[in-house]
């Protein structure tokens, strides 16, 4: 089974067929702006000393994240990673909670227990990553297993980087999902670097998607800066999984447009590489598409931009008003009690 390389999305017609109306298209644009806005402001907060620890962004990956997030159904679940802020945003996490998370406040999804993008809101179908990559892939396959056991028409999406694809967890999850034909989609954020490690030192084949054949399912490589192409491929894979067609590996090719984290100037990335990929900024690319194909007017755009700006300003204020956690609460929360199980997402 050869890897399929997905075509870019050309026309409005195509997207309509894939199930998106104009409102959706603008929603996608808004999500991408919010995603980048959160991370840009986070960067400033970090420089201001308001964010403890380290700080990671997904610059360059906004389209890949928002595209997949948009393709997920309301009851689908997933385990997004540190480049996937767009997934959280698309699924509806309130930006103030992200800032509160960054700043270690009570209002963040982990209430200051964990930091940076180690967070998710289970009610929105997202489950919190751990640092250890890609440990959430076996977990996501277990979610898909639960759906299969119960006969739910739900799909689990598991993310991993092209670097973390080298770890055994990726293999065990894919093999298990393949054997049991689980309703699952594996999304590889291939941003061409794993910290300072280039792809040829991470894997010896052309595409990570080449691996899918080793697990008996389909692999597809998509341009991760083309939000609509990502959406289309993710949608296809998700609906295939929902219909009992088993897993798909969707590889989104991008470039990590910043260092690994805020402390890293990425000196090891060739300058030309950055220059080349700067021409494919996912947001600019999509804005142009909207202008050309969906009649995005300047007024409309300005309004969206302004709304996003207001949203983020308010979010920052609200996050800053959220208290730091009380040290007296530190020891209480290691073990769950029965009541903690009776939550809607735990179904």
């Amino acid at each position: 089974m050869a890897v399929r390389e997905a075509e870019p999305v050309g026309s409005l017609q195509e997207v309509k067929e894939a199930g998106l109306d104009r409102e959706d298209l603008l929603g996608i644009y808004r999500s991408m702006l919010i995603t980048r806005g959160i991370e840009e402001r986070g960067h400033i907060l970090y420089k201001q000393g308001k964010i403890p620890g380290s700080f990671y962004t997904g610059r360059g990956n906004e389209a890949a994240a928002v595209g997949v997030g948009t393709a997920m159904g309301p009851n689908d679940v997933g385990t997004p990673l540190h480049r996937d802020m767009g997934v959280h945003v698309t699924r509806g996490v309130e930006p103030w909670r992200v800032f509160a998370q960054y700043m270690g406040r009570e209002g963040g999804p982990t209430r200051g227990r964990d930091g940076n993008v180690h967070m998710a809101v289970a009610e929105l179908g997202l489950h919190t990553m751990v640092s250890h990559l890609p440990a959430m892939l076996p977990v996501a396959s277990g979610m898909a297993l639960a759906f299969k056991i119960r006969g739910d028409r739900r799909v689990a999406v598991g993310w991993f980087g092209e670097g973390a694809a080298a770890r055994g967890d990726a293999h065990e999850a894919m093999n298990f999902a393949g054997v049991r034909q689980l309703p699952m989609v594996f999304v590889c954020d291939n941003n061409q670097w794993a910290y300072s490690t280039p792809t040829y030192l991470s894997y010896p084949v052309e595409h990570i998607a080449d691996r899918a054949a080793a697990y008996g399912f389909e692999g597809v490589v998509v341009d991760g800066t083309d939000v609509l192409a990502v959406y289309r491929e993710a949608k296809r894979a998700i609906e295939k999984a929902r219909e009992g067609g088993g897993p798909t590996l969707v590889e989104c090719l991008t470039l990590r447009m910043e260092g690994h984290a805020v402390h890293d100037d990425a000196f090891y990335v060739p300058k030309e590489m950055f220059e080349q990929w700067a021409a494919y900024d996912p947001i600019e690319r999509y804005r142009t598409w909207l202008q050309n194909h969906a009649e995005l007017s300047d007024d409309e755009e300005n309004e969206i931009t302004a709304t996003v700006k207001r949203l983020l300003n308010d979010a920052l204020d609200r996050a800053d008003a959220s208290p730091l956690p009380d040290p007296a609460t530190l020891e209480g929360g290691v073990f769950a009690s029965q009541e903690d199980l009776d939550t809607p997402h735990h179904k």
């Binding site: 751990v130 076996p138 297993l145 639960a146 056991i149 065990e172 054997v179 290691v334 199980l341």
Partner: protein, 324 residues
Amino acid sequence: MAEMTYIQAISDALRLEMRRDQRVFILGEDVGVYGGAFKVSLGFQEEFGPWRVIDTPLSETAIVGGATGAALMGLRPVAEMQFADFISCAWDHLVTVAAKQFFRTRTPIPIVVRLPSGGGFSGGPFHSQNPESSFAHIPGLKVVCPATPQDAKGLLASAIEDPNPVLYFEHKHLYRRIKGEVPEERYTVPFGSANVHREGDDATVVTWGAMVHTATEAAEELAKEGVEVEVLDMRTLVPWDKARVLEGVRRCSKVLVLHEDTRTGGFGAEIAATIAEEAFEDLDAPVMRLAAPDTPVPFSPPLEKAYIPQVEDVVTALRELAAY
């Protein structure tokens, strides 16, 4: 009541839980048609179908990680390791994901991992280990070590009901050797409550798993000499019944902490250290520890016998303690 072996009690508990709660399912290597390496789930696939008794590939990470994901979606997975030793292959998923998830994000991970553990039959370094201490050190994991058929059944029900990751260590050397009267209906045995396996006032032995029986045999020996030894079966290590242990120390003033796992850094150290810290004034003798020496579990019978604490070793230790 019915007479059951320890392993029958485990099967029985699992079957009852699966009957009463649709969310409970089993996954592991060879658990289906074969019924698991020790036949705990023999016949389960017929009764519950192939999607509640799932044969997995040889993938401990997929098993434990998968159980974690299924639990997040509301199921109650009971994962079987073919031998407890193989849990080392899923260490990361237990300590990194399952143990920390609730603290971090308040989504409980109600999973049980069944771990056939322990030596005594020349299983060698990889089929005899008692890795409970390693896990008892990790905040967020519960650790259960039944010693009797009654507790095996009741503690497994509690483990499945518990909203947290529970490591259920079932001692292979008790499987068919130990029998007892077990209620036929479902019941639970609470975590964190030690059981007085044998009464006595002259010294207390704090122990768990197969060593409960070794200690009891030793106590019977000592009784012939007029020394009455209490045998405290901890039943669970996380949580552990500190109050009852300290009470035993208060009453007997002499204590032996005994376990089958290796000595250095074993959970016995935690118990001994706690006693030394919190019952210092009650002690008439140093807190003594008896455990396996710091080596892998050897295969050859004379070595294994020297490795696992024997009744004679416990007798010797207790005599020494009594004489202090």
